[in-house]
């Protein structure tokens, strides 16, 4: 039990150091933006049925759990199994804290119970899901994604379970339109991981309008997932078409932003190291009505920079 208290205490200290490092002013700006995004989500979450919130929370927490790098460390730290389960449960409740406060303040007791239950279920199934992920993390070949989409192919080969979750969310959109938004959120999070590694420049098989072709290829490829989800949501609640269109557009903008950002870093003489903090802020801008213009401009600037960089590099070789 002492270890749990020590770890949670450290989490507080860690958060403070992180905020200090990022700069408190920046934190206030990001917090304001985040709240703006979440506040729209709050209304939706209050209105959706508890089971929709429960499934969405469970799926996102399972994915979050399997991104953790400290599971083996924690296994060796705790003497008893129940201590780890309790720690996970508390941490996942803390992750849902804004919603927990919302449910308490509005008296949504059913949803509060679902939030606690989803944290508990993820914690209890942590061991099984870690084993499942660690076996699926052993790279397996996915043939249906062509090599030309290698970023996505390699990412999903290492995260096979993610494909099943995305397909399951697609299926659940038939049951409730809310899953469309969960799918869009998960898609956007996934894209953040897909384009992070940057291959050596010698591997960039450049041709005219290289980045534009890349954008087109990926835009078409992701329709396999996004378009059926959009249609199913539309079939479910046609009156919300504007919200779906907005989420759809933002997911695509997110995709374009990450592709253009990746190639904008290929400066003629070196690969620039970018700031993921700045990119995270643009992702937030992306989902705010109005401020997405900023992300769009950022994407266009990066696109021009990326094409120019690659032309300059290949003109020299």
């Amino acid at each position: 039990m002492n270890n749990i208290v020590a770890l949670l205490r450290f989490r507080l200290i860690q958060s403070n150091r992180l905020l200090k490092d990022a700069g408190y002013l920046m934190v206030v700006i990001v917090a304001f933006l985040t709240l703006s995004v979440i506040s729209q989500g709050f209304v939706f979450i209050l209105e959706c049925p508890p089971e929709v919130y429960g499934i969405a929370a469970f799926v996102l927490l399972i994915l979050l759990h399997n991104q953790r790098k400290d599971t083996v460390f924690l296994e060796s730290l705790f003497q008893h199994k129940y201590e780890i389960i309790l720690l996970y449960c508390l941490e996942y409740l803390l992750v849902q804290l804004p919603f927990v406060i919302l449910f308490i303040s509005t008296g949504s007791w059913m949803k509060l119970a679902v939030a606690v239950l989803s944290s508990g279920l993820v914690s209890l199934s942590a061991k099984a899901s870690t084993a499942l992920f660690s076996s699926s993390n052993r790279k397996s070949g996915i043939r249906f994604i062509p090599l030309s989409l290698f970023e996505l192919k390699f990412f999903l080969e290492r995260n096979v379970l993610l494909i099943f979750i995305l397909v399951a969310l697609l299926g659940l959109t038939v049951y409730h339109f809310g899953f469309f938004f969960v799918l869009i959120l998960l898609f956007s999070i996934t894209i953040m991981g897909v384009f992070v590694p940057v291959e050596d420049r010698s591997m960039v098989n450049w041709s005219k309008y290289f980045v534009a072709n890349k954008l087109l290829k990926y835009t078409l490829a992701v329709q396999v997932l996004l378009l059926p989800a959009f249609c199913l949501a539309l079939f479910n609640r046609p009156d919300l078409w504007m919200w779906y269109a907005w989420a759809y557009g933002m997911a695509l903008l997110n995709l374009w932003m990450f592709i253009t950002y990746k190639y904008s870093r290929y400066a003629p003489d070196r690969i620039e190291i970018g700031s993921s903090n700045a990119l995270a802020i643009f992702v937030l801008f992306n989902f705010l009505p109005g401020t997405f213009i900023v992300s769009l401009i950022y994407t266009i600037i990066n696109y021009v920079k990326a094409e120019r960089n690659l032309i300059a590099y290949y003109a020299r070789t």
């Binding site: 270890n3 450290f10 860690q14 150091r17 992180l18 599971t71 460390f73």
Partner: protein, 225 residues
């Protein structure tokens, strides 16, 4: 003595071992040697209960192994971002013991600094101190000497030799000299998890066995070209 009895383990795409029986001595440093991907880390994950064997038993001195009896130093130890050396030791050990502080001083580790600022070798050293001071009966060290400077390497070997009483220490390394210097026995694992056990007085034959494998591979390369 730590024993794996008739154990079987496989990933969905690959069988690692079947019917494996292997034992590691108490009061001794048990070296584990084998090429990349042969399954050394998998074996360590099984011993720490991260992975489960499909069949077979794992026993420590005749009773089933309790995962809390095992400490492990991973190839790339995990550290939380924004954590100081002192905080790490306190978290792992419950309190910053005098012994841990002394060892940190011997290794010249700045405990008041963030571990994010430590070099690879320094990270290995602080994780080594932590697992050593946990004082558990089984201590697994997965490539502990990688990235550690010469002085640190020699210190680690000397400390291990002093600390082996009452413990089963299992240590893997790809640096043969480090392993032969520190280990009392070496399990040389080969294809299909077939292994040969070498005692301290037969390390010369281990060298010869490795030499033979390399020679045969070079010969097959020559035959192809």
């Amino acid at each position: 003595m730590l024993e794996l009895k008739d154990c079987t383990f496989e990933y969905p795409s690959k069988k690692i071992f079947e019917g494996l029986s292997i034992s590691f001595k108490e009061n001794a440093i048990n070296g584990v040697l084998g090429r990349n991907g042969i399954g050394k880390t998998t074996l360590f994950k099984i011993l720490t209960n991260v992975l489960k064997v499909g069949k077979g038993q794992i026993e420590l001195n005749g009773v089933p192994l309790n995962p809390s009896d095992v400490s492990i130093l991973q190839t790339a130890p995990f550290f939380y971002p924004y954590m100081k050396g002192k905080e790490y030791l306190k978290l792992v050990l419950g309190t910053l013991s005098e012994r841990a502080a002394d060892l940190a001083a011997v290794f010249n580790l700045p405990l008041d600094e963030l571990i994010d600022n430590y070099s690879t070798g320094m990270r290995k050293k602080i994780a080594f101190i932590a697992v050593l001071c946990q004082d558990r009966p089984v201590l697994i060290l997965d490539e502990p000497f990688n990235g550690v400077d010469l002085e640190g390497n020699e210190l680690m070997k000397a400390i291990l030799k002093r600390e082996k009483e009452g413990r089963v220490i299992i240590c893997s390394s790809h640096i043969l000299e480090s392993l032969t210097d520190s280990s009392d026995t070496i399990h040389f694992i080969q294809e299909g998890y077939q292994y040969e056990l070498y005692e301290k007085n037969s390390y010369e034959s281990l060298n010869l066995a490795i030499g033979k494998i390399i020679d045969s591979k070079i010969e097959s390369l020559g035959a192809k070209s």
